[in-house]
C-alpha cells in the first residue's frame, strides 16, 4: 500500500495486516485428546468399580485373599510420576526464560522419572504375581493399569520428540507450543496416575 497526498506522505506506512494465524492448533488438539483420555479412564475405572460391586454382591472378597498389594513400590512409583510432572513444567518455564541448559536438564529428568515409573509399575506387577485371568479384580486392574502405562509411554515418546527439537534449538518463548502440549499431556498422565493409585491401590491395599 502506498501513501497518497501531501500530509499522509509524512506518516509511515501502516504495517501489513497479520496473516490469519493458526490459533494454538496443537494446544487445542491436545485439550481434545486429554478430554477423550479422561473419559477413557473414566470408563475403565467405572468398569473396575462395577465389577467390584458385582463380585462383592456375589459374596466374594475383592480383591481375592491371595492378592497382596505391594504398597511401597507402588507408592514410590506413582510419587515418581507425580514428581516428573514438576520437571515437565520446569522444562516449559526454562524455555520461557531462554535457559537452554536448564531445559535439557528438565527434559532429561522428566524422561528418567517417567522410565522409573514404568520400571516401578512393572516391578509391582511382578510382585503381585497374579495372572490376568485369575479373577475379575486382576482383569479390570490390568485393563486400567496397562492402558495407563501405554499412555505414559506415548507421553514419553512425545517428550523424546520435543527433547530432540529443543536440542535442535527449535523452541523459544514465542514458539513453545509443542513443549507446552507435551507437558500438558504429561500432567494428564500424572493426574490419571494419581487417581488410579487412589482408586485401585490405596483403596484396596492401603494401610
Amino acid at each position: 500500500m502506498t501513501a497518497t497526498g501531501t500530509s499522509s506522505s509524512l506518516l509511515p506506512a501502516l504495517p501489513p495486516a497479520p496473516e490469519v494465524g493458526r490459533r494454538n492448533v496443537l494446544l487445542v488438539g491436545t485439550v481434545f485428546l486429554i478430554a477423550a483420555g479422561t473419559t477413557l479412564f473414566g470408563g475403565l475405572l467405572a468398569g473396575y468399580f462395577s465389577a467390584r460391586e458385582m463380585v462383592e454382591a456375589g459374596g466374594e472378597v475383592w480383591p481375592p485373599d491371595e492378592v497382596v498389594i505391594p504398597n511401597v513400590p507402588l507408592f514410590v512409583g506413582y510419587l515418581t510420576l507425580l514428581m516428573s510432572s514438576v520437571t515437565a513444567q520446569w522444562s516449559v518455564s526454562a524455555i520461557n526464560g531462554r535457559d537452554r541448559r536448564t531445559t535439557y536438564v528438565a527434559i532429561g529428568l522428566t524422561l528418567v522419572l517417567g522410565l522409573a515409573f514404568v520400571n516401578a509399575l512393572s516391578f509391582s506387577w511382578a510382585a503381585l504375581d497374579i495372572a490376568a485371568e485369575s479373577s475379575r479384580f486382576a482383569t479390570t486392574m490390568f485393563a486400567v493399569t496397562v492402558t495407563h502405562l501405554l499412555v505414559v509411554i506415548a507421553a514419553l515418546v512425545a517428550f523424546v520428540v520435543v527433547g530432540f527439537r529443543a536440542l535442535g534449538g527449535q523452541f523459544s518463548p514465542a514458539n513453545r507450543e509443542p513443549m507446552v502440549c507435551a507437558a500438558a499431556f504429561w500432567h494428564f498422565c500424572a493426574a490419571i496416575g494419581l487417581v488410579i493409585w487412589y482408586c485401585i491401590w490405596f483403596l484396596e491395599g492401603g494401610p
Partner: protein
Amino acid sequence: MTMTETKSEPRPDDGGRAVEGPAGTGPVQSLTGPALWLTTSDHKVVGRLYLAFSLIFLLVGSAAGGVLGAERIDSGLQVMGSDALDQLYTLHGEVTVLLFLVPFFLGLATYLVPLQIGAADIAFPRGSATALWSYVIGGIMLLSAYAADGGLQGGSAIGVDLYLLSLAVLAASTCLALVSILTTAVTLRSPGMTMLRTPLFTWSMVVGGGLSLLATPVLLARLIELFIHHHFGADLGAVDAPGQLNWFWSIPHVYLLVVPAAGVAAEIVPVLTRSRLRRNSFGIAALGALGLLGFGAWAQVDPYADDLLYVVAGLAALIPALGLLGVLGDTVRRGRFSRQAALLMALGAGVHVFLGTLAGAMQVIPGLELDGTVWAAAQVHYTLFGGAVLGAYAALWYWAPKIWGVHLGEKAGTAAFVLTFWGVILLAAPDLVSGLFSGQLLGATRLGDDSLTAVLNTASVVGGGMAALGLLVVVGDLLARAGRKRGTRAIGDPWEGATLEWATSSPPPPGNFTDELPPTTSAWPVADQRARDRAEDSQGQDVDA
C-alpha cells in the same frame, strides 16, 4: 520467490497431477491413483476416500440386512443356523454404524469443515490420513473376524479377539479423526467467523463430534476390558458383553449419531428453497439439544429400560426433533419449494428423524413393553437409515459438485429418494405393528405360524429391498458420474450457496481458496457478498440509465 521465478496459478484439484501447492509450499508432487491415496495428507483426498470406503462397507452391511430379513420369512429357504444369524445381526448393526455412518460423516467433515470455515487445510492432515487408514484396516479386521467365526458370540477364540481388537481400532480412529475436525472448527476459522456464524454442518460436527469424542472412548474402555477378559481365557457371556456394547447403536445414543445428518438438512434446505433460517441460533439450539440427549447412554444401568433418565431422555428427544422439523418447515414455507433431489432427501431425512424419535418416545414407556421387541429395530431403522442415511445421500447430491466437480443425476437422485424414503417406511412400519401387538422379539426368525406376522415380515423385507435398491442407485450414479467424471461439470457456486465452501472453485485447488474470502458478517457470507454485488450492479445500471 525471486522475481525471475514464474508462479503458476493454482488450479482446481484435478486428481493428482502436478499443481501448485499452497502459498510458499511449491509444487505438489505428481501422484495419481493408489500412490496418491496412500501418501496424501490433503484433506480433500482423505475425505473422498472416507466417503468411498464407507459406501463400499454400506453395501456389505445392506447385504447382511437383506439376508437377515429373508430369514424372518418362512419361505423354506433358510440357509443359516441360529448362531450364524446372531452373528449376522450384530454384523449388520456394527457395519452400518461403525463402518458406514460414522466414517461417512467423518469423511464429509474432513472434506468440508476446512472449506466451510475458510481454512486452507485441516488442523492435523497426517492425523486425518492416519485415522482414514486405521478405519480401513479396522473395517477389514472386523469383516475378517466375522469370517473367522468371531463376533460377540463367535466360536473361534482368535476370531473373537480379532473382533474386539478391530472395534478398538475403529473407536481409536474415530477419536483421532474427530480431534482433527474439532480442532479445525475451533482454531482455523477465518476472520469474522464467530462460533455463532459458523455453518450449521460444521456446528453439527462440533456438537455430534464433540460429544462422540467423549462417548467413543467409553466404548474403547469397555473393549479393552473385554479383550483382556477374553484373551486370557474367560467367557464373555459372564460379563454381559452385548450389554456393554449395545448402547452404542441403540437409543438414546442413536440421536447423537444423527446430529450430522440434521446439520446437513439445515444447510441444504435454506439454500435450495432460496430462503434463510430465521435465526442461525435456532438451528444450533436444535442440533445441540439433539446431541445432548444422545450423550450419556453409556451410563445406563442394567436393566436400563426402567431407569428414569432413560425414559426422560427418550421422551425429551421429541422436542429437538420437532424443533428441527419446525425450523426446516418454516424455512420451506418462507422460500420456494422445488423438487430437487437434495432438497427432497434433506426434508425426508428430517421427517424420518422425527418418526424415529416418536418411535423412541413410545419405546421408553414402560407399560407398552416394547423394549427388546422389533419395535426397537424399527426405531433404529427410522433414525439411522431413514434419518442419517437419507441425510448422507442428501449431502452427496448437494456437495458432489464441490467434492468431485460434477453434478449427480437429478433423476437418479429422485429415484434414490423415493426408494429409500418409502422403503424405510415399509421396512420399519410393519415392525412397529409386530412389536406393539405381537411382541415379536429382536432377532427372532422363521415366524410363519402367525399369518399376520408373516405378512408383516414379508412387507418389511420388501421395504428393506427397496432401500437396498436405493443404495444401488446411489452407488451406481456416483460411479457413473463422479467416478468416471461424466456428470455435468460444476461451477464454483452452482446452487447460489450461502457458506464459504461455495466461494472457491469446484473442486477446490490445493490451499482451498485462491481469491480473497468474502467478509464474514453473518452466518451466510457468500449470500451476503452476492447481495452486495447485485446491489452494486443495480446501482451501476441506475447511474448508466
